[in-house]
């Protein structure tokens, strides 16, 4: 079906006859394009390294800086914020100027946005590799970087709103709505999830604890997917796809419904990351209901995208750009179908903690985000450089090798996930776990991890081919920093005028950017408020357990080592209430166990076994200090060379920074952890005492290690995990328990 195109100039209504001449800023778009390509390669290389490490632990290089727990956040952050982030800015800066018919609001803000963002990325890479991390997924960066992000993000918003306000057209095109919602939602998410108390230059504790921290984190985490990897890319889709196909969007009405429904629903779905975990049932159900509903607007968007290409299908065969876009939009449809499925509790019971999630995000990341950005680059670069793409053949090669890469990456991981989850849950005729040794379930899927490396390698190869192609294109062309343009002036009065007679409210709101921004904030805030207020307000949602006490100073330091090494990237601390898990690990996890956990460390992936019961004497997970020491220094030696856990020999050499300990205790006290008044002055002495006990125990087994080394602290922490609930609430230890008296009533 064809739309009856009007030949009318969209700005004609406001045209007072004066045509204004100005120039689009192409330089900033070009900068962001280069940054997208550069960080894309870096992020994929980091991903390839991480994949290699899971297949062959030697690639951890026995170095803190290059071990998996630190490389994995570098990979995810580089892909999300550096590759896709720069891609979003590239597309937004290009399309904003065109659909609003004006230059960006302020060139200085544009440059601040660009250089600020690159500085953040560089700082992020360095600090993450040094082990400065909050442990919260996709929000790992420590507080100074969080502040930098806030500043640069506000710069972007200011620049964008300024541009919208000085536009020369009346209506604000739908792509821009998606950019506005992105900006609003990310601002809100970033601020709330980064509420943390600094206790050192690059160290902070989340102000939230346990269940509440988990809920805030996954409200953030899922919406990082929703509002950083989806809404802005949809904005790009609504601009670039019609341009590339040379067809207006299939249905503008659908795009409006798509927009509001999507931003409204997305924000509710976070709890689907916490199904069967220590979260109240009503919160889980809410997450499930909204996640399933999300399929409708997502598919509406996909249909709108694909239907826009109607009539251009014949060109798909010879156009690499169109091929990338078609697969990107299809991948969007696939992952937004799969997402709701994975949110259904019975499916989630199987898929969670396995490689299924990893496969799922790579359909979205490599397919939807990656291919969208590649398609846009192949279209935009020749256009801006006033030349043709150097080689259509190479672009086509990139497309095919990239697609093959995605398949070889995802399919083995789906297979691995199925295999492993069934092995975890398998019982033999005697009613015992069929695979009691966790490592057996890892060894079984190792060949699939090898194939996954190949998939990543192919995908990266495609991207490298793109670099060559784009390089040659740029060399042959010329991109003036300023592209001349002209448009009729829009009388400011028309924009500012009150709602006209007979005009609908939406139409009115559409041309008032500030009001529009506030309305989108309301839409995204409702979901958050409804989820948080009850959980924070009602004590009964987090029943406390009297025997749960705060960590000792040594355990607290050990916990910080655990965070710093990224042990949580491979280990969960959350036993779900399934027989297969309680048999393997011990008692299932309760909300009340985590009330002193700033931040929570439940994890999202079990590459290794759950550690929630590592210190529980009733659990099979409990090991001796000696075993823990030997295993941390060399996991392979303890497992006939089979383990894929990285070795951590440096932990035995590194000393804890005891000067920082009192500040950490004080920080915890500020957050409500009931240490006795003035305990910070005594903490280091207690720490030494506890350390000496462990060191003495190890000395008995011929291991000489400092009582204040990182490994001793980490062992103390592991020995504490899950121990409290094995003990009856001790009356004598009332001193520690007293602080939480208000909650235990």
């Amino acid at each position: 079906m064809q739309t009856d195109k009007t030949n009318q100039d969209p700005t004609a209504v406001a045209n007072d006859g004066l045509v204004e001449h100005f120039a689009y800023d192409n330089k900033i778009v070009k900068y962001f394009a280069y940054a997208t390509i550069f960080w894309g390669i870096v992020g994929m290389l980091a991903g390839l390294l991480a994949a290699l490490q899971l297949a062959f632990p030697v690639f951890n290089f026995e170095l803190a800086y290059t071990s998996f727990g630190r490389v994995r956040p570098v990979h995810t952050n580089a892909i999300i914020f550096a590759f896709v982030g720069n891609g979003i800015f590239m597309g937004a800066y290009y399309s904003l100027q065109r659909v609003l018919q004006t230059r960006m609001f302020n060139d200085k803000l544009s440059l601040l946005n660009f250089w600020g963002w690159q500085l953040i990325i560089a700082t992020a890479a360095v600090t993450l590799l040094m082990g400065f991390t909050t442990s919260k997924e996709y929000a790992e960066l420590e507080w100074p970087v969080d502040i930098m992000i806030a500043v640069v993000w506000i710069t972007f918003g200011w620049n964008m709103l300024g541009t919208i306000i000085k536009r020369r057209v009346k209506h604000i095109y739908v792509a821009v709505w998606f950019y506005i919602a992105t900006w609003v939602a990310i601002t809100m998410l970033h601020v709330v999830n980064s509420l943390e108390l600094p206790v050192g230059p690059f160290k902070s504790y989340s102000v939230f604890a346990g269940v509440q921290d988990a809920l805030v984190q996954w409200w953030y985490g899922h919406n990082a997917v929703g509002f950083f990897l989806t809404t802005p890319i949809l904005g790009l889709m609504y601009y670039f796809l019609p341009k590339i196909a040379n067809r207006p969007v299939y249905s503008y009405k659908l795009s409006i419904v798509h927009f509001w429904a999507l931003i409204f629903i997305y924000i509710w779905t976070g709890p689907h990351h916490l199904l069967y975990q220590s979260l109240p049932d009503w919160a889980q159900s809410l997450g499930v209901v909204f996640s399933v509903m999300l399929i409708a607007p997502s598919w509406g968007g996909m249909v709108n995208g694909l239907a826009t290409l109607r009539g251009a299908w014949d060109r798909v065969r010879d156009s690499a750009v169109l091929k990338f876009i078609v697969v990107a939009v299809t991948a969007y449809g696939m992952s937004t179908f799969e997402g709701p499925m994975l949110s259904i509790k019975s499916v989630n019971a199987l898929s969670h903690f396995t490689d299924w999630t990893i496969a799922h995000v790579h359909i979205g990341g490599m397919g939807w985000n990656g291919f969208m950005i590649f398609g846009i680059l192949y279209w935009l670069i020749p256009k801006m450089f006033n030349t043709n793409l150097y080689s259509e053949k190479l672009a086509s090669f990139h497309f095919w090798i990239g697609t093959l890469g995605i398949l070889l990456y995802a399919v083995p991981l789906y297979w691995a996930a199925f295999t492993q989850t069934l092995m975890w849950k398998d019982f033999n005729e005697l009613g015992k776990l069929a695979n009691p040794i966790f490592l057996d379930t890892v060894t079984q899927i190792l060949p699939l991890y090898h194939t996954r490396v190949l998939g990543g390698l192919l995908y990266l190869t495609g991207a490298v081919v793109m670099v060559v192609n784009i390089w040659k294109t740029i060399a042959a062309g010329n991109c003036p920093d300023d592209e001349p343009a002209s448009a009729p002036a829009l009388r400011p009065l028309v924009v500012a005028a009150a709602k006209a007679e007979g005009e609908s409210y939406h139409r009115f709101i559409e041309r008032r950017p500030v009001q529009f921004t506030i309305l989108s904030l309301v839409a995204v805030a409702i979901g958050g408020i409804v989820e948080f207020v009850p959980l924070f307000a009602i004590q009964s949602n987090v029943p406390t357990i009297a025997s749960v006490r705060p960590y000792t100073p040594l355990e607290l330091e050990g916990r910080d080592v655990y965070v710093s090494e990224g042990c949580n990237t491979c280990h969960s601390q959350q036993v779900r209430p399934f027989r297969s898990e309680t048999e393997r690990y011990g008692e299932y996890s309760k909300a009340g166990e985590f009330v002193y956990d700033h931040p929570f460390l439940w994890g999202s992936k079990r590459t290794g076994p759950d550690l929630a019961r590592s210190g529980n004497p009733n659990s099979l997970m409990k090991k001796t200090n000696f075993w823990q020491y030997k295993h941390l220094v060399n996991p392979q030696e303890m497992t006939n060379g089979q383990s894929i856990m990285p070795p951590y020999p440096w932990l035995a050499e590194n000393e804890l920074d005891l000067d920082a300990t009192p500040a950490k205790i004080r920080g915890m006290m500020t957050l409500g952890v009931p240490y006795a008044e003035g305990y910070d002055t005594q903490a280091v002495d207690d720490l030494r005492k506890q350390g000496q006990e462990i060191a003495a125990d190890l000395r008995g087994q011929n291991i000489e290690v400092s009582a204040t080394s990182e490994i001793v602290a980490l062992i103390a922490y592991l020995q504490r995990l899950g121990r409290d609930i094995s003990e009856a609430a001790p009356e004598a230890q009332a001193s520690a328990a007293e602080g939480q008296d208000d909650s235990s009533k």
């Binding site: 030949n7 969209p10 095109y173 040379n246 207006p248 009539g311 408020i529 207020v533 307000a537 500020t670």
Partner: protein, 72 residues
């Protein structure tokens, strides 16, 4: 630091999720009504915003050519 101390006593707070769902549904229904009532010409005009005038003319030509071709 404990926000919860202040909010603890909001009565019937469990009803929040239901209220949220109702707000969403109401909003969504109104949105649908409004969208499907909007005029097609205006929508088409908005949809053509990414294009310059020449591009729109070109699209027009292409479309008429296409329909001529199909008509033959």
């Amino acid at each position: 630091m404990k926000l919860s101390n202040y909010l603890e006593h909001i009565e019937n707070i469990e009803i929040f999720p239901i209220v949220g769902l109702v707000i969403f549904m109401a909003f969504f229904v109104l949105l649908l009504l409004w969208v499907f009532k909007s005029e097609k010409a205006v929508m088409d005009e908005h949809a053509s915003m990414p294009f310059d005038e020449q591009e729109i003319e070109l699209q027009h030509k292409e479309q008429t050519q296409n329909s001529n071709r199909h008509g033959q």
